[in-house]
Symmetry: C4
């Protein structure tokens, strides 16, 4: 039976069916955001149950078909898929749970990522880039924290909505970093502290530098891997090609020596 | 006759005439957007007929001059040119058609791209870059779709103009991505959901990452091709240069062995 | 006398004096934008005359010191310097000329660029990058022109201030490209044409692509030159190093053959 | 005693304690920006004294543990740490000093950078990049200065808040460069000078070019260092590998010659 399910699971038609059902579930979620006539709403409810059951069957097939059942839940994607299906099975009644149910249905669209390998590669590259960027992010956080504290101390009484406490200040600084109406924020504080433009300009300079550092870090890292792979290939090809000629020369020389020795 | 037309078609003066007429047609379109005195409007109408006829003659010459008439319409640029000319010939009467006629006259400016090879290269590079970027775009679409659905579920009642349905939500999210008055959108929803800043910040983070991925993907791809071409050239040059010296050594060794063998 | 002036011109102290006077002239221009007490204004007038005379003397020394007087005015920087000095000499009386005189005094700051070689290199790199980028700029202009014409045809009656004629439309589109309150522009036209978001999004997509192309073009060009210089150096070093060893082997082989031949 | 303190200083637990205390001091600063109940405020005061004393002890240990006490204050980081501790010791009484005391406590968070080596590397890279970028920054400053002076001359009477003097004008231009409501600034001056759009567009063009130059400069510089390190490694590896084979050939040839010579 495992073999049969394996064959089903590896079948191209099965794969495309899963992708189609995920797209269908995405369309249903989109449709729900519109005002719909009553019969269509009822149809959506049944379609939703159908999709939940299909996903349940699919994950079961995948589990039975897998050779290494112990490590099945060690893969983050499998855990994610199972969780989405299990939570979908919980009957939605009170409004609190309805919200969770709705969110779970939205996250079903993410199953697209767990099915299409090319998308999985993109997400993995994000996760891989994370630790490498962590120090730049820590530096960025320290910059935000210091400027947030200073901003909160000085500008708190000017506009408590923007500079009330350190968390609010950091959100305001993120806004300044995106250049979103940042001059309005600046002109307001310049009324009390005329030199506060230096606060904003230095903040923009430091964050821009940290971001530039981050982007360059990623580019250099990508190119480095690229170059390393390229170089390895080149060396292999090169050595096969040239060393053999040098090898032939060495063999030739050994034969010449052998000839000379033989005649002694 | 085909040869005569071919000579005309390949003539530098003919080429420059075509470019000049395209620029003239562009200027006429620009002129139409201003309020003009009556005689000038009449002149524009005649100039427009003249340009249409010129384009008709030019495409006919190009068609007759081409050796491979079967594949003439296999080139997208030829189909585009012919379509522009044919639709221009339809007489403009009712206001519906007038609009189409006007648009076709605007798209005549694009003939500039079909005539100047350097511009054609740029457009082709766009078309070539498309499939390679399709997965990043799909990921970006999934991010937009999920955030659009979540935004529509939660913020629908706060501001239906911005979050009414999933399509409107996605347009609002595009606006957030461009940082256009995004804090106004955020502060409004933070009135009801104080933690909704996390929604916007995570969205900005994910889209920025996907975009960065896209840009780096293009840069790496361009540099890779560059390097590959460079490397191929280098290898060729290198092998010509060095292998010949090694070849001379091998020839020399063979001669020495021949000398030794001859003396045995 | 030419030699004396040459020695003066090449003197480090003279060079630094020129730079100092340029900085002083820049400070005077800055000072003029503030409300100043009367005695200081009179001082500024005399200082201005002093700077003009100094520049006159400096350019005269430079002209007499130059060996190749025929080609002196073939250098754009010399023409620029002379022009600035000559126009400064025209007495300022009526208000029309006063404006020109003021502008000329502002452009004196640019003499900084003509004096400091490192800045001249930066400006030259801009001028050199120009032709190479001309096709991307032409493509960008065509995109702006087509969207400007279409925008003017459709949105003219909605808001003539933004879409009145093709020039105004192109300015509005530049604004959209910089994401400056672009949603306000879009929402206005979406009131009449609900699908006009496609107009803006496609425009943003095309211009973003063209810009990306431009940036990548510059980066690749810079890296290419970099790599070419690097490679040339590497090849030189490599050939010197390795070929000599191969040369030694060939010399050795020739000697061995000579030994063998001598014994025959 | 120096050895004991050295062992303490190099102890992993001691290092982590220092990091923890810095994080705690950061949290205290953040907490102070919120409205807190009275007992918590008193607790904060004592915690602050505790942190100051801890830092005093830590810096004393570091000083005594250091072998080269003469050069201890030659390191910028040590001077920074000592300064932070010393200023913290000054009792806060009048409101003037309270502000300085508060700021010093905020800058304690920067001690994180002086402790974590990875962050120190990032900051050093900023300091190292400075001189290399100085000419681009000078060019950028000249562009700002010229446009600021011109803007102040022409637009002074239109809006003195934005164009009152050269310093204000340069701040307004920085705002234009970040695209923050720049069209509002432009439309206002276009009311008096209809061609002033050229002023803004040319400014945006020049600053964008200078910035692009700066970014490309950094990227090329980073990649160059990368390539140089890579190349050096490659050459080393290459020469070890190939030269030994060529060396073997030379040794072989010498033996052959010796054989031939011996038989003469």
């Amino acid at each position: 039976m495992q073999d049969t399910l394996k064959r089903i699971h590896e079948n191209k038609i099965f794969e495309w069916t899963v992708v189609s059902v995920i797209i269908l579930s995405a369309l249903l979620i989109g449709a729900k955001t519109y005002h719909l006539p009553r019969p269509f709403v009822i149809f959506l409810t049944y379609a939703d149950i159908g999709i939940t059951l299909f996903f349940l069957v699919e994950i079961t097939i995948r589990f039975i078909a897998s050779d290494d059942k112990r490590n099945f839940f060690k893969s983050g994607w499998n855990v994610f898929d199972t969780l989405i299906v299990v939570v979908s099975l919980i009957p939605i009644e009170d409004s609190e749970m309805a919200l969770v149910g709705r969110l779970v249905r939205v996250f079903r669209v993410l199953r697209m990522v767990s099915i299409v390998p090319e998308l999985r590669v993109l997400i993995n590259s994000l996760i891989k880039a994370m630790p490498q960027l962590s120090y730049v992010m820590l530096l960025l956080f320290i910059i935000f924290y210091i400027y947030g504290a200073v901003g909160s101390f000085f500008f708190n009484e000017i506009n408590p909505v923007l500079w009330g406490d350190i968390a609010t200040s950091m959100l305001t600084l993120f806004r300044v970093m995106t250049f979103e109406d940042w001059t309005d924020v600046m002109y307001e504080t310049m009324g009390t502290y005329p030199l506060s433009w230096a606060f904003y300009l230095s903040f923009i300079f430091f964050t821009a530098f940290a971001f530039l550092n981050m982007v360059i870090g990623i580019v250099v890292n990508v190119l480095e891997k690229e170059n390393a792979a390229h170089e390895r290939e080149r060396l292999l090809e090169n050595s096969e090609n040239k060393l053999t000629q040098l090898d032939q020369i060495q063999i030739e020389l050994k034969e010449i020596r052998a000839l000379l020795k033989a005649r002694q």
